[in-house]
């Protein structure tokens, strides 16, 4: 058994006694770092979400065991805060602002345009796994309202046309990438 496995559990309680590989080894440095800092549960959950994209039940169970909390406690904290997600998200996470300034300047209309274009509802992910639509309350760029963020980029002064254009461009970029990598892999195999 490796050093790591002695210090940390192996991420499941199936009774395999550590024979299965630990699916969450990447989190162990985080757990070590915060082990002695009281009140770090939220920070640990944030780092875990950064690593894995979302908090699965297995991941939360692992964190609970490793931080000596009950699973109920971890789940209770995670579900209290809107930042935490319990399902995988698309390649592009659309955070559409529904704050006051954006609402007054027509964010509902923007939401409709996004929903029409992607054919999903708020909170859902497109079947191709590209886009997830989430509503948020205020991104702090209210003077450019309506505003949305896609991953790390902020887009302001949105109109229906502008937002469909942005989404179409992202979609196209991915499709192009896909064709490029396809050709590359074809070339490699050839």
């Amino acid at each position: 058994m490796s050093q790591e496995k002695q210090e940390h559990g192996h991420g499941c309680d199936c009774g395999c006694h550590g024979e299965q590989p630990n699916p969450f080894v990447e989190l162990n440095p985080v757990l070590d770092h915060y082990a002695d800092i009281p009140g770090s549960l939220i920070t640990v959950l944030q780092k875990a979400q950064e690593l894995y994209g979302f908090l699965s039940i297995e991941l939360m169970r692992y964190i609970a065991i490793e931080t000596h909390n009950s699973i109920a406690k971890v789940y209770g904290v995670a579900t209290f805060y809107t930042q935490f997600r319990f399902e995988p998200v698309g390649k592009y996470l659309i955070m559409l602002c529904q704050g006051t300034a954006c609402h007054v300047n027509g964010s509902k209309m923007i939401e409709e345009a996004v929903m029409d274009f992607l054919e999903i509802k708020e909170g859902e992910t497109t079947p191709d796994g590209l886009f997830t639509l989430n509503n948020v309350a205020c991104l702090g760029c209210c003077s450019l309202s309506p505003v949305m963020m896609i991953n790390d980029d902020t887009y302001g002064q949105l109109t229906k046309d502008k937002v469909t254009h942005i989404l179409a461009e992202l979609k196209e970029a991915v499709n192009n990438e896909a064709t490029v990598s396809e050709t590359v892999s074809q070339e490699v195999t050839a």
Binding site: P38, G39, S40, L41, I42, T43, L45, Q46, G76, V77, F80, Y81, T82, Q83, F84, C97, Q98, G99, T100, A101, C102, H103, V104, N105, V136, A137, C138, L139, G140, C141, C142, S143, L144, S145, V147, D152, T154, Y155, G156, K160
Partner: protein, 583 residues
Amino acid sequence: MKIVIGEGSCGIAAGAHKVQNAFEEIIAEKGLDLSVEKTGCIGTCYLEPIVDVVDDGGKKITFVNVTADDTRRIIEDYVLGENELKELQISESDITMIGKQKRIVLRNSGIIDPERIEDYLAVDGYLAAKKCLTELTPEEIIETIKIAGLKGRGGAGFPTWFKWDAAKKSPGKTKYMVCNADEGDPGAFMDRSVLESDPHALIEGMLIGAKAIGANEGVIYVRAEYPLAIVRLQNAIDQARKKGFLGHNLFETGFDFDLRIKAGAGAFVCGEETALIASLEGERGMPRLKPPFPAQKGYWNKPTNINNVETFANVPWIFRNGGDAYAALGTKESKGTKVFALTGKVKKGGLVEIPMGLTLHDVIFDIGGGIKQDKAFKAVQMGGPSGGCIPASLLDTQIDYAEITKTGAIMGSGGMVVMDETTCMVDMARFFLDFTCKESCGKCTYCRVGTTRMLEILNRITHGKGQDGDIELLEELCYKIKDGSMCGLGQTAPNPVLTTIKYFRNEYEDHIYHKKCTAKSCKPLLTYTIDVEKCVGCGACKKNCPVDAIAGEKKKVHDINQDTCIKCGKCFSVCKFDSVIID
């Protein structure tokens, strides 16, 4: 000569990075000796991206709404040539807009580079802290804040000196200084701007406060949605530590103080101080009953003082200029300045900092330039989900804690969302209730269930299903929720409803009794008809109608079947001939 680009979140969203890249390319291409630097947000967000060209003598020319394409002209025509490029320069009226303000909190925003502590030091940064640590006693620090009359800028407007004094007198060796940078009011962004544009002002303010109350450890609780703010703040903390403004034995006085950031995880209620403390401790952010106040039992049950970002950012200025100078600004009861986030249907949206005592009219019309497209002003929302809507008849209200409270709104953290004739006030009330209902932590039944019931009623009114007695029922619930809730969230959640009923009762009545939304905003209350004069029979509406409610032959006037119509508005948006009438 140097080029300085405004790179707050808003500048970046407007394209500041593209502008920066374009400048760097041209400068490299031409081999020019020109540095490209960044600064924070000057507050005139409607002019972003903003570029200053500063010559060696310090003379500054500001170019606004700069695109990547403009950069070549700025270099070739202005920097290298003789052309002044007046058309790209900031206008006189915009300069006056900035000139009407009194900038204390925003003194360095948009001027210094927030990522370089040297810039902050060059504008006398940390001298106030040095004075407080080496020359003043905690009592003298608190006395100065008392003379200044500084009140908390986070919402409630509680005198800062009083809180510091209580935390100082509270027994115990370990104390904490906490900064509330949760900025939960959707529509307010002054705290973000300070964090991104002048983070050292906050650190210096906290350091002074820490000395006053005797805290050796500080935490800044920053909203998760502000990634850039967190990066700049962390950078500033690291720099301050390196320069000896944070850490051990500061200014060789034997006083220790260090700071760290805690990122929030998205919960409005965590702006409430006891909930914030719970969240800092890694728990669900549930408020608890006060007393004991945080000054007695706060973070880890130790005496804790919590102030807002803007409150702290005022502090260094007060010690550089004197408590009297601060108290000379403003009204009898509300001293100093306040930063407002002016947004919504206003022409010149952005951050404005003004001395207390100006009127709402001054801010919205003189500084904000009035209403977009010169439509009619209807109301201004202040105080966010805890505040209210102030109507046109009260535009002469002075900006002062007590005066604003009299209207039924609150000063709040400084969100000012301007609404025009196209904003439906019942829908606004519904919007805020939807927010508070989702954000209620669920501890108090009145807050949890009461806001849900209110939201249901408001939903039915805006859907054309309002009933006689709904207004009275709403009012009754409002008072019960106010009485039956433990924390500020529930106690103030009814304010948006109460103020809209008070000032815009006719709109509620129109919705309920006449099934009409005069602002033409509540879709279910609208009727869509086709203007027989204008319709050319192109068939676009018919093709796009999701429920086949439109009939008509090609090149003949079409007609909408009102019984089938679901009022989605598709026909209106696709008609190229403006022949769909909304009523």
